[in-house]
Symmetry: C2
Subunit: 346 residues, 2 copies
DNA sequence: CTGTTAGCGCTTTCAT
DNA sequence: ATGAAAGCGCTAACAG
């Protein structure tokens, strides 16, 4: 049988005080005499009372809950971010509402409206499709504190943390060039996402710095999934005249797909083709060959995001933007010097 | 500037009716005249009104939200289940609170108490550590509808969906035996989880059916992680006198870890050692060699769980338990006939 | 069929 | 320092 829940009134009654006093104790207001506070606290524990968060939410106009909106919780990059955020904000007895946007703009807007109806205090928008302008407007309109995670929002008053992908991709591209590659394929993510654009830009800048001309046929946009990587690799090795000797994938899942394709075709990694991924998801180092990848500071991203949020809502001032760095982790999917084999398979 | 939210009262006023009528329209009660209903609906859309779910929750005693509690959202098996559940219950404008238990019993209990304070309607307990008795008691106490996912709960009045792991592991074991293996190692999950026990039991039954004696040294308990699999494989190939010619891992993550270990030691898969995983996570087929694995019906698990919940809370009757089947997906990490190489490396 | 009224459990003026 | 009372936005009797 469901036991009737203990209310603040019963606590007040049992402690011989008014509900207001109990409320004060609960919220650590200073204007309660120590004796009363102690008595109330004791009654609370003995009766196993716990405030009704929904009632609190109604009167306060906000509940003690946040939400995280990700494009795809099934992508290890995002699930790890969720985990970290959850860990940190959970400590402050905040809870976390999970939403999957599937990377659809309208869905993101719907979700925000839904959050408003639930009196959610703040939302972590991870790799949002929505332009910053809209985020700002919608969140202001609904009085929700946003924190943008993993998307560059430079010229807006929006708390945000992201990774300098462009620099990291320049480095990755240069690494390949230094190892003798000139025909470097690039598997891009959907161009509506700022990260995709930044990564592509890094690749292009890397080429440019070494006087290598961009070839449209060596750039293929795809989804950030295994299937997306597979398909893009297939395209690059079947549909165009001259194959690349190296492939930079915009994330590790794509790299996994590309590697599966190459293996299936009997193309040796890294002897014939070098592969670089991005993210450094847990399996990356355990693949065969172990994947060279641009390690994203995933945990840090989640951690900083959570801190920004906590800071934002408590001090009510715009926290500084944070730009994290990614770094190339060299494993075995790239040959350390490609000179002697760079003409194989052309 | 945060715009003041539209309330039911303003709608009532604008439509020239009472708040009660608006509420009736909102909740599709039949006793409203069509004309009034139409008028109210129009006002609702033009004013962009959306009911305050928190206020509703307070008066109803329950909010329109569910929660899912997983041991580790960062495990692709669980993240996929969350995704599916979210997809389905999201359609009914329910939202989903996410909690990570880290597989800790006390944490699970804490979470349930927290859910009670938030007037959550139902909770999906995925691979819970809590014994069924406690789940039943706690949930009844707090009036939360539980659905147990991916854990066997046979003799309790608890809505549940799980997978017949024992049969699947018997089959996997027999598959290896048919291919000439007699020394089959088993990497088990933490024994407090019913799934781990069922999988181990399947392995043991498989051996028994073929008159192969169990060897304690060929069974190693570990975590359901890459690191756990790596460590268990290391143990089996370094700490015991006689190596297995095949390894069954209790999940794919463990298999990834074990494969990484073997590769590092130069041990050939499947020539020297065959590997079987369990789950069939997205990357399984793209590993090298592609992983033979016991495919769990992950999406189905989530889908059925969501349906059970919806059914449970709407008809208020105990839905039937559902047992799903897993099946062996043979790829290339197992040799199809091991006879000729079964003595290698012993 | 429709409106009036009384809370749901809590926080917060406003008195004292 | 404490209590009384009002009210957050909504739903559910209860009248009519």
């Amino acid at each position: 049988m469901a036991v009737k829940k203990v209310t603040i009134e019963e606590i007040a009654h049992a402690a011989g005080v008014s509900p207001a006093t109990v409320s004060r104790v609960l919220n650590n207001k200073r204007n309660v005499s120590p004796e009363l506070a102690a008595r109330v606290k004791e009654v609370i524990t003995t009766l196993g009372y716990r405030p009704n968060e929904i009632a609190r939410g109604l009167v306060n106009g906000k509940t003690s809950a946040f939400s995280v909106v990700v494009p795809d919780i099934d992508n290890p990059f995002f699930s790890k971010i969720c985990k970290v955020i959850q860990d940190i904000i959970g400590k402050d007895t905040y809870s976390l509402l999970l939403y999957n946007s599937n990377g659809v703009l309208d869905k993101e807007k719907e979700i925000i409206e839904e959050l408003a109806a639930r009196l959610i205090k703040g939302v972590f928008l991870v790799a949002p499709r929505m332009p910053p302008r809209d985020i700002l407007d919608l969140c202001k309109h609904y009085d929700i504190s946003p924190v943008v995670v993993d998307a560059k929002v430079e010229s807006y008053r929006l708390p945000a943390v992201w990774v300098d992908n462009t620099t990291a991709f320049i480095e990755a591209t240069e690494y390949l060039i230094r190892n003798g590659h000139r025909k470097i394929g690039f598997i891009a993510g959907p161009h509506v996402v700022t990260n995709s654009e930044d990564r592509l830009r890094g690749y292009l800048l890397g080429l440019q710095r070494h006087g290598i001309e961009k070839a449209e046929s060596l750039i293929r946009e795809s989804d950030y999934t295994i299937a997306g990587g597979y398909e893009a690799a297939r395209y690059m090795f079947e549909e165009i005249e001259s194959r690349p000797t190296a492939l930079i994938c915009s994330n590790d899942l794509m790299a996994v797909g590309a590697m599966a394709y190459l293996r299936q075709k009997g193309i040796q990694i890294p002897d014939e083709v070098s592969i670089i991924g991005c993210d450094d998801i847990d399996v990356a180092g355990s693949l065969y060959p172990p994947l060279t990848t641009i390690a994203q500071p995933i945990s840090k991203l989640g951690k900083v995001a959570a801190q920004l949020m906590l800071q934002y809502i408590s001090h009510d001032e715009l926290p500084p933007k944070v730009i994290l760095h990614a770094e190339l982790v060299v494993r075995e999917s790239t040959s350390s010097n490609h000179e002697e084999v760079s003409n194989v398979g052309v």
